[in-house]
Point group: C2
């Protein structure tokens, strides 16, 4: 995970905080207090404020004027929303990327899929999954589109980690293989349709809460 040592302090802080929010280390709704963060990173609060603005732009935090910043909460509605946005935009990206996909790239994507199958924890599975999507979409050559998709991926990962916190079962990703097969045959349209369905598939499973009751947890698992 590149630390980006030449980045500005604000960027470094925002990356660390983003990672914590995504992984669930900081709970949804929790307040982010600028002086505390500043103290932890041994800086003043000015770069911290800029880091907050960055998180806000990614949709990971929300700030109310004069009332501080909190980690963005989320419900089933937002999970669905992000899934549908990803589906729409990733399909668009894949349609543009398809003509530029080489055999080498597809091989790398297959490696990523295998790595996902082998992974024993959510975190490494998510990493492999994101690598797969990035590999097949990057050649579209549309930077703004890719940046937006990246932010949506971060949101997806958040939901995933929140749902699958402790327990995790390996699952082999049939969709990824179907997408790669279609792309290898030059059938971009079929690949795009499968990708759209794939991203919109929302996993749900019962989760035991602290109070002993069970509730349903949701996550985008594509």
């Amino acid at each position: 995970m590149a630390k980006g040592t030449d980045d500005t302090i604000a960027v470094r802080i925002s990356k660390v905080l983003a990672d914590r929010i995504i992984s669930g280390a900081i709970e949804p709704g929790a307040r982010l207090r600028q002086d505390h963060v500043a103290e932890e990173f041994h800086t003043s609060h000015v770069p911290v404020r800029e880091a907050f603005r960055r998180l806000e732009a990614q949709g990971l935090a929300i700030s109310e004027p004069r009332r501080g910043v909190r980690v963005a909460a989320f419900d089933l509605g937002e999970v669905k929303e992000v899934a549908e946005m990803r589906a729409a935009l990733e399909v668009l990206a894949l349609r543009h990327a398809a003509p530029h996909l080489t055999a080498a790239i597809l091989d790398q994507a297959e490696e990523a899929t295998k790595a996902g199958d082998k992974s024993r924890d959510v975190r490494s599975w998510e990493e492999a999954n994101r690598a797969f999507h990035r590999l097949i979409l990057a050649p579209c050559g549309m930077p703004r589109l890719l940046a937006t998709i990246d932010d949506l991926h971060a949101a997806s990962a958040r939901f995933l980690f929140a749902a699958w916190r402790s327990e995790w079962e390996t699952r082999t990703d049939q969709d990824h293989r179907a997408i790669l097969a279609a792309l290898r045959q030059g059938n971009a349209e079929s690949a795009a349709l499968t990708l759209g369905r794939h991203v919109q598939w929302i996993g749900r499973k019962p989760v035991r809460t602290a109070s002993g009751t069970t509730r349903e947890a949701f996550a985008i698992v594509g």
Copy 2:
């Protein structure tokens, strides 16, 4: 244009600067110098920096560490990219909004279309156009999607103003009327398809440059 008097200073600054960038008052590639902006708004540079981060998130400015912030440049490729993203996302939004559209909303949208036809300058046409799109999309109830579409609209407006700077001819918007007619008949799918085409239609016209030569200018005119 709501000034948002209860906003934070940073937000106020970012709104004014965004307006200038969109309208073309500040040229693409121009540097934004924080001390100058701070002086103009009679504040220190801390809120200015936060305003810059906000503009960056909207894609209106780009900042290089230790090298300051510049107004984002754009080329035909980016115009196309924004158009395609808008098409994909607005179609998605309309599909969700359609079941919640009332006759009253559609009437308001028709008013906006008429206002666009009557407008004598680009600026008021753009305002009417954005009102139309917002009216028919807002009922989708997907805040993140709507926020992203808003940012893309700002980018579209930028291209529009850059191309049509001085000259402008009124054009009656047949697409808007077709979309409204389909929605009134309950034919959401047809409306969505028309909207998708509508947004992707990129206007182009020859523009005389300062040096006397002519070049092609491009803009999203939906």
